[in-house]
Amino acid sequence: MLQADRRDFLKLAGMAGVTFTAGLFPSRHASAQAGGDFHFVQFSDTHWGYKGPANPDAEHTLEKAIATVNALPQQPDFIVFTGDLTHTTEDPKERRARMKHVREIIGGLKVRDIRFMPGEHDAALDKGEAYREFFGDTHYTFDHKGVHFIALDNVSDPGAKLGDEQLAWLAADLKQHKSDDRIVVMTHRPLFDLRPSWDWTTADGAKAIDLLMPYQNVVVFYGHIHQENHHMTGHIAHHAAKSLVFPQATPGPNAPPRRPPPPPYDASQKNLGTRDIEMGKTVTFVELPVAKA
């Protein structure tokens, strides 16, 4: 299905999302090595186990989002979860119970191909031990229809570092690719300094961006900040996704030095949702609501 058709279809289906296209894959010419067009859906920051006033509906929000994605007229090729599947707990038993439970709920997705990444809530207190038991490796690569995907872990080190070992692994992986290959990086925290005084950074994220810089067709999808954000470091676009638990404060120019608490709950849940990402000659995406309007 052509992109425009699919977007119209989403509109008809009551998915009144905003389409975003911005300098993505700028060097990808029509003549470049052809891979079939496809789409995938990004879920982020589900924080299973969170209880609090920022989302009194927290126990059902994920299920609603799953129903919405299951109702998409054209199912995505796969689904990614960019971290904070669970809300943190210091009890290792409870941590595993939350992981087991959220994995069961996610099993309700029609799409069977699901890729997970940890957030600090999942992995920082035990360096990813419980996470790996339930969801596998914390960083890895895979290829899909001509696109190279790289999942980076900037959370299981409690200091929010990728670490030298993972950076060396990334460098070795990138070396096997041509400078015009299509590369999608997925991670939890922003790799760039989005708002350092709110801890919206990755300690050594600049090193990863340096390694990616020679590649012309790179786009980064991440989570952590619980809101949409679009930022360029040179030719590399970074797109933060909404959460499925509660939004965070926005880092505008007049924002205070310390991060304020989440805004009051909005029962319309319009600040929450998932993202449908279309990979073609360009990358376009549509923000999907939690539930159909």
Partner: protein, 117 residues
């Protein structure tokens, strides 16, 4: 002065062109204690041009102490005293916070440095 705080001072002072004169008489010290999920005190006052040394301790577990506006960070390890020195060069409110994930409440673990003229 240990090596760590000397480096922090050099970084913080590098923007001030020669202001980085440090002696015990003019440096203000403030003790800040970390525990899940607070710094005590969580508001610290300083004066422009007067070096400030944070004397950091933790009573429960490893925390972090980071002030991006001054280019400093350190771990705070129970049983050890960590000192970091900054040179305030302009008035305003600046965040300090824990940057070692320490549990449910970690994201709220921070404080404010108020620099006055």
């Amino acid at each position: 002065m240990n090596r760590r705080s000397f480096i922090a001072l050099l970084i913080a002072g590098s923007a001030t062109r020669g202001v980085a004169r440090l002696d015990a008489a003019t440096t203000k010290e403030v003790e800040v204690m970390a525990e899940k999920f607070d710094f005590t005190p969580d508001t610290v006052k300083a004066k422009v041009g007067q070096p400030l040394t944070f004397v950091l301790t933790s009573i429960d577990r490893i925390h972090g102490f980071k002030m991006p506006d001054f280019g400093i960070r350190t771990d705070i390890v129970p049983g050890e005293e960590r000192r970091v020195t900054i040179m305030p060069t302009k008035t305003g409110s600046f965040a300090f916070f824990c940057d070692v994930f320490c549990g449910d409440g970690h994201e709220e673990m921070g404080g404010t440095l108020i620099v006055e003229a």
